[in-house]
């Protein structure tokens, strides 16, 4: 049995060191150690996508990554999406389309949508639905979310 491990990462563009037990997930570390509680815990087994973060350019469920695996990694959480008090176009589109109700799934949906639009700026509705299949919402249904992503894509193309 050993103690805590020192892990060095970059979170939302800032160099961030933390100490964690090897058994702690990246989700637990983000919320309980680093204090970034925007990332939500849902199922804790990879099904619901509430804890989605961007890890080295790919979306992952933070519950299925150990904190110690993040050594040297670049991580983006929901706290890193808006800039200087201005909402990201995806966040704005979620608001305008009423694509959230209780809000627990929203950070995960926004990060997953951002990763999609970074890779495919003009996705079809079909592509959006498949890409977001790993994110569950139990309030609004998916239609408003899909419309929000389509809207955000259109807005981001105009800029």
């Amino acid at each position: 049995m050993s103690g805590k491990t020192h892990v060095q990462t970059t979170i939302n563009g800032e160099h961030t060191d933390f100490l964690c037990e090897p058994r702690q997930s990246l989700l637990e570390v983000l919320r309980d150690v680093v204090g970034l509680t925007g990332t939500k815990e849902g199922c804790n087994d990879g099904n619901c996508g509430a804890c989605t973060v961007i890890l080295d350019g790919r979306i992952v469920t933070a519950c299925l990554v150990l904190g110690v695996e993040a050594e040297g990694a670049e991580i983006t959480t929901i706290e890193g999406i808006a800039s200087g008090g201005i909402l990201h176009p995806i966040q704005q589109a979620f608001l305008e389309n009423a694509a959230l109700q209780c809000g627990v799934c929203t950070p995960g949906f926004i990060l997953a949508s951002k990763a999609l639009l970074d890779e495919n700026p003009n996705p079809t509705e079909h592509e959006i639905r498949f890409w977001l299949a790993n994110n569950l919402c139990r309030c609004t249904g998916y239609d408003k979310i899909v419309r929000a992503v389509l809207d955000a894509a259109a807005t981001m193309q105009e800029v």
Binding site: T5, R23, G46, V60, V68, E69, A133, N134
Partner: protein
Amino acid sequence: MHWIDYASPRSVKEATELLAERGERARILAGGTDLLVLLRAGVMDNVDLVVDGKSVPELNEVTYDPQAGLTLGAAVPCYKIYNNPKVTQAYPGLIDAASLIGGTQIQGRATLGGNLCNASPSGDSIPVMIALGGVANIAGPSGDRSVPIEDFCTAPRRTVMQPGEMLVSLHFPAPAPRSGAHYLRFIPRNEMDIAVVGAGVSVVLENGTIKSARVALASVAPTPLFVKEAGDALAGKPATEESVRIASALAQDAASPITDMRGTKEYRKHLCEVLTRRALLTAIERAKEA
């Protein structure tokens, strides 16, 4: 989760030494999409060390050569497979499986090596890896060995791997001219579900007839099931639906599914015929275009 230690070895030798020292108490961590769930569920309470395979260079290898075939490190995540243009071009059947395991987030971590080592009867990548004639390259304290993928799983969650051994890579022969493969699964949703039945197949054509074929099924037996007789029955037959029906009936005969929450055994038997037939027809179309 109970206490675990974490190690990130830099070589196969260092990893196998750690595994040999801890025996059954150590597990290799690749994508973690099965292992971390099982550890957290308390069904692996004996495990107190995870050895991160991603830190070993050989486990991250993706090498394709038109003569030598494809070597896929055991810790390569699905997205790196389907984002690789050479692999996508040469092994569309493998891409079928890599792009439908879990959702986007899972595909960012999950690996085909891990899918194989998890040894679930429903493992989505295993039937098509069998159909492609894949081989598992294993390293261990008593040396290296290679095992055909159809012989790798021995029971649910059991494999041929001995304590101290680790899966290093998967190897697939170069696709023959006029060959094609396909994986098809049935689930009640469009995505993010466990196969009620899955069928992975490959065919090689020669002058309009089938030279050889391989068929394997998921979720119809205690392990992914290689149905040798179904593929063998196609050798020398014309590449027609009539021939394919002979093979799909043999696949159906070989299946011994159970009834559970995902489907009855009668329904699964029915699906074996339908999926094998459709997968073979698609594989033949791909082979004609190859």
